[in-house]
Symmetry: C2
């Protein structure tokens, strides 16, 4: 690998010098996007990966792409990772616990309580079951889209309660760390409430907001700016997948949707009666609480460092953005963040570049000297 | 200007060869961000700009920065642009119409009906008043942040109804075009409903969604990904400004908030009773309508071109992003769009680069040869 290789191997990312710990055979049930990606990542660490899938074609693809070998009758896996569609997770976990009583079985479903309840209802011994949720950020694509790196730096939730055996927990933590993920332990209840808060309810909200554009006049939509495009970006998600997720996590989602609907109603009431005592203050408080909340979201490095921005105007004609990148590179501008905003109806892009405040002026001066038009700088 | 200057002069952006038409004196009332920016842009076109402001300090700053000259007693402006805070717009417009009966008076307030109603209530002749709303995207900063280019490529709404005199309308259209903006004509009612739809209601929604993070456990927030960060980005907006805007546009905002709250309730009900007939379909329809709506939002160039993406992994250690930019520039990769996503808790950034499908492979090959790790490509 050339010395320009920037990103370390997955298992080195988080803990310098840490060596992969998971060994022996890992059996993966379901060779789609997540299962195949786990296979790829484990194989890079020299682990023996045994794949199985109800679709012979999917299995063949996954094996051909190098995610692992077909599972064999005499396999004795230490870990089983169930990566089936959500509606059959409980069945698959139950089958694997029964078939491999020595193995620790985990899964990757995006809700944790429902599969756990189903398993408890069957009266199984669940000492060897630990629910996982790797939040890899991509849910579609199948074996062809699988990559070893999709877990790197991502949260990997491991569900435990007061009775989870320590050895089994350690094994799944090692799995997550070996894949370059960030293990985060919580109870299944905490997990489901958390994903409702930061993923499921935002999805519903973005979708319903965007749904109002479906029949809106084109003239109205022509006034849309980057703000609403960002707010509704995730409304492009797949309906079938989300119906399953929302149904499986209904309780916390419903609770939070009810609360949000009430908040919307409170703001509407305050605006309906602007002269009522406290009406203006209620609206201001809503915005203010939003300021606080958005500040609490983890950003870069999980820290909140202060950057300064400047905005460069980029003619979207071919090559201009590349030229900007070239100049930023040549000027050695330490770009901390970069956001590109397009202007509907014109060839103009606005590139918001975030840098260390101490370097703002030299970056702006350097780009200006090269002919770039700076639209604005933060104060 | 060096030949690296990429962006054409404002008045050339949209109509090649079009020469600026507004001449004579333009009087600007209120020399804050918008007023000063209009001044700067007009001065680049050689227009005589006369500034006034209730704050002598703001006026002095604006004049010093080159936005125009102080207004004089014997000025005879053809156009007056009122750029005061929203609560005094009607007063200012009334005063200017009275003082300069030959001039066309426009304003830049972000809601159009309320000032118009106040003016009608005073029984004035409004033949020379045309409401404007330049959607410049930045609302804070004062004269120091003013730039000539902030209107380039942006929508500039011009309010007209069946009785608007054609000559006055043409003058304000010329003003918008001279500033490089995209004039969009609609009635004040259409305007207020439109900005409620694409700006005001999304603001309330993003703020209320983010408000739920204000008291949430940090562990829950640690699961947040780029999706919810984008959805709540605009929740960082200023409360005081938004209380004014929402109060001034209360009617359409309330109507749309009520409808949205009802939609949230309908999804919550469907999830509460998942076995009720049509419940699953109702949830799927909500997501599907969101797909349709978000597709209708204008994007780059107002067209929907098909790009392919690939994702490059960037170690956030200093300089890596700049190196990526440098390599993209050196490889002459025609970058159509660029989005940077950070991984909370780790030093990893994921840069999603959009290119013409025909160039995807060579871009990926070129970067890989330079040691970059490609996390994924779109299918």
């Amino acid at each position: 690998m050339s010395d320009r290789s920037i990103v370390r191997e997955p298992h080195e990312v988080l803990v310098a010098g840490r060596r992969a710990r998971v060994g022996g055979t890992v059996r993966i049930v379901g060779a789609g996007l997540l299962g195949s990606s786990i296979g790829h990542a484990l194989r890079k660490n020299g682990v023996d990966v045994a794949l199985t899938d109800t679709s012979p074609a999917q299995l063949r693809l996954a094996v051909d792409y190098g995610a692992g070998r077909p599972a064999a009758e005499d396999d004795a896996p230490a870990i089983v990772v169930v990566c089936t569609p959500p509606d059959v997770v409980a069945d698959a976990v139950a089958a694997e616990l029964t078939r491999f009583p020595e193995a620790v079985v985990t899964d990757v479903a995006s809700v944790k309580l429902e599969p756990l309840r189903e398993l408890r209802d069957r009266g199984l011994n669940l000492a060897n079951y630990i629910g996982s949720h790797p939040m890899a950020g991509r849910e579609r694509g199948g074996a062809i889209s699988a990559r070893a790196d999709i877990f790197t730096g991502r949260p990997w939730v491991i569900c435990r309660d007061g009775e989870t055996p320590a050895a089994a927990l350690a094994l799944i933590e090692d799995l997550a760390l070996d894949l370059g993920a960030v293990p985060i332990e919580m109870t299944p209840e905490e997990h489901d409430r958390s994903v409702a808060l930061v993923s499921h309810v935002p999805q519903v909200v973005a979708s319903l907001l965007a749904a109002r554009f479906a029949d809106a006049p084109e003239l109205s939509l022509s006034l849309a700016g980057q703000g609403v495009r960002d707010t509704t970006r995730i409304a492009a998600s797949a309906p079938e997948l989300w119906v399953q997720i929302l149904a499986a996590n209904a309780a916390p989602v419903v609770e939070q949707l009810d609360a949000l609907a009430a908040d919307l109603g409170a703001v509407a009431d305050a605006l309906r009666s602007p002269d009522a005592p406290g009406a203006r203050r209620r609206t201001a408080d809503a915005i203010r609480q939003g300021n606080i909340g958005v500040e609490r979201l983890p950003g870069k490095h999980g820290q909140r460092r202060t950057f300064e921005n400047f905005v460069v105007m980029v003619d979207d004609a071919a090559g201009q953005l590349g030229r900007l990148f070239g100049d930023l590179g040549e000027l050695s501008v330490n770009v901390e963040d970069f956001r590109l905003e397009h202007s509907p109806g014109a060839q103009l892009g606005l590139a918001e570049v975030s840098v260390d405040p101490a370097t703002l002026q030299s970056a702006v001066d350097g780009l200006t000297a090269r002919g770039w038009r700076i639209a604005s700088t933060s104060d």
